[in-house]
Amino acid sequence: MPSASEPTPTTAGPTTTAPGGGARPPLVTVARAAKGIALLALVAVALAFPSLAPNPYILSAGILVLNYAVLSTSWNFVGGFTGYISLGHGALAGLGAYGTGLLVTKAGLPSFLALAVSAVLVAALAVPIGYAALRVRGASFVIVSIALVLVLLLVFQSWASFTGGSRGLVVPRPFPDLLRPEHHRVFWFLFVALLALALLVWWVIDRSRFGLGLKAIREDEDKAEALGTPTFAYKLVVFVISAGFTASAGGLYALWFGDLDPVFQFSILTGSYMVLMALLGGVRNLFGPLLGAVVVGTALEYFKVEYGNTPLHLVATGLLLALVVLFMPDGVLPAIAAQIERFRPAQHSIREVTAAQLREQRERGEADGVPPEMAAAGNGGPGAASARERS
């Protein structure tokens, strides 16, 4: 189920879909079965967690992790598919949260209607934002995304009459009669549902032609455009989808948490946690961001409980991010996959043949009627293995 375009140089490639790939090695079937079991286990854990949590605090920490998981999965719509690294997704979550809060308090909408309307509004707002931001690439895009957070922070701080400014905004409880532990339980399931929806959409896109076009953008945008992919429209669509999910997560958080403060809603740190989590798990992988969120989110809570009085959790976060960037730029899941790869018999996918052997083959081939053509066009030779190196 994870991404079909996972870069696994020497395996049978897109195992799930390769037609006519000959008999599938049993290993692949085992792997699929393992994946199925893992998925079931995941669902079971998600449903059982509230009953397993020893106290409401653990449950609330779990909700925070889930919130991170939804956020980084949402981020991954843009970051994973198109390769545009946005450090500013925190702003979209903040907009979703404030949108929900303001719709409840100022417009008097019912909580969950407000959440939905807010998500739609943010998605709509993402059209002009994306229109401006997606025109630039690389470093400029990162800068724009950072600027988005900072400028919204200023606006939400300054426009106090509307947003409550630095004094914050209190979002009324959707279930005012629930005691806190019950309240947590309800929101756990709401977050699980949102996460499932985000994962499902990501999965659908990942295997679709739309998704392949997005990945082409990530690899070489001009080339994709030249091949006929309407790159700008693609980027914009996926940005809007991402914004919608991010805003939903922000809105749900607002309903759950109840207190909004611009400094936290419009923080670069939020956006960078999303990046860190997605990167750690692996941006090309359906469950990468979820895994990253579980690891980082749990670690963050753990640090807070253990070293609560010190800002060492920041150091730990930074260290983790640095290590990931330096040593695992593709994420944990691909790194694990690569480790497993090493235990398989080495398959040289690029044949090593000399030009003379090649000619022999060709002659033989022509006799058989199979055109080997330029089979070893520049026989990759030694490059086969070396190319697996990250270059």
Partner: protein
């Protein structure tokens, strides 16, 4: 493939102009390429050949002039729209999607229609079969699952070509397909071009390798300083004095 008219005009430009700062890369270039032919575009370094491709395919916007493809004005069209209209291209410095398998590289060239088409699986049987058949024709079928960045220069060149062909262009623009490619391989690229041409595809090839150009093209356009200075079949071009002076340097 749509119906192919063997004699019509494929690509035409009128007074195409492009200047970068003080440098005039295209200076009112008016060229017409006939349909169903192998055309070559040659000229000294910096004469505007790549810029011509870039303008025609919409990658950069010309300052002035008009481009039509099969009678349709595409001067202001976006690159993907031009690709949809049937013009495919390769790049001078070969460009593939480095971290995608060869198969995905080729599949990425499929142009889905409509919302449902977008959401259909990328690895549908029909497409995969078609993609594999292109890889086979280009002799890199065994590399289907290899990431492009792990391939040699020549293989990447072939892969880029496979991708472009997968998008089923009527007209293929190739920018220096021979650069850095082993000569033994080159013979086969030439053969392939003729083969595809026989199927009805139009080619416009920018190339400095005169042996290749002379042996495969029906029609040659010579550029100098951003505009054509001569055109005709190889036999004519080979003896054209302006060409000898401007390009071959004798």
């Amino acid at each position: 493939m749509t119906e192919r008219n063997g004699s019509g005009e494929a690509l035409r430009t009128e007074g195409l102009t492009k200047a970068f700062g003080g440098v005039v890369a295209l200076d009112g270039a008016s060229v017409a390429f006939r349909h169903g032919q192998v055309n070559a575009l040659i000229g000294p370094n910096g004469s505007g050949k790549t810029t011509f491709f870039n303008c025609v395919t919409g990658m950069i916007r010309a300052d002035g002039g008009r481009t039509t493809y099969r009678g349709r004005d595409i001067t202001r069209s976006t690159p993907h729209a031009i690709a949809h209209a049937g013009v495919g291209r390769t790049f001078q410095l070969c460009r593939v999607f480095p971290r995608m398998s060869a198969l995905d590289n080729v599949l990425a060239a499929v142009r889905p229609a409509g919302l449902l088409g977008q959401l259909r699986g990328a690895h549908g049987r029909a497409e995969v079969d078609r993609a594999r058949s292109w890889l086979t024709r280009l002799g890199i079928e065994h590399l289907a699952d290899v990431e492009a960045r792990n391939m040699s220069w020549g293989q990447q060149k072939l892969l880029e070509l496979a991708g472009v062909l997968m998008s089923d262009p009527e007209t293929v623009l190739l920018d220096e397909p021979a650069g850095g490619v082993n000569p033994a391989l080159l013979d086969r690229i030439g053969g392939l071009v003729r083969e595809l041409n026989a199927e009805g595809r139009t080619f416009v090839i920018v190339e400095h390798n005169m042996d290749l150009v002379m042996s495969i093209s029906d029609h040659i356009v010579v550029f100098d300083r951003g505009r054509p200075i001569a055109e005709g079949p190889p036999s004519v071009i080979r003896s054209d004095e302006r060409v000898l002076g401007a390009y071959l340097g004798v």
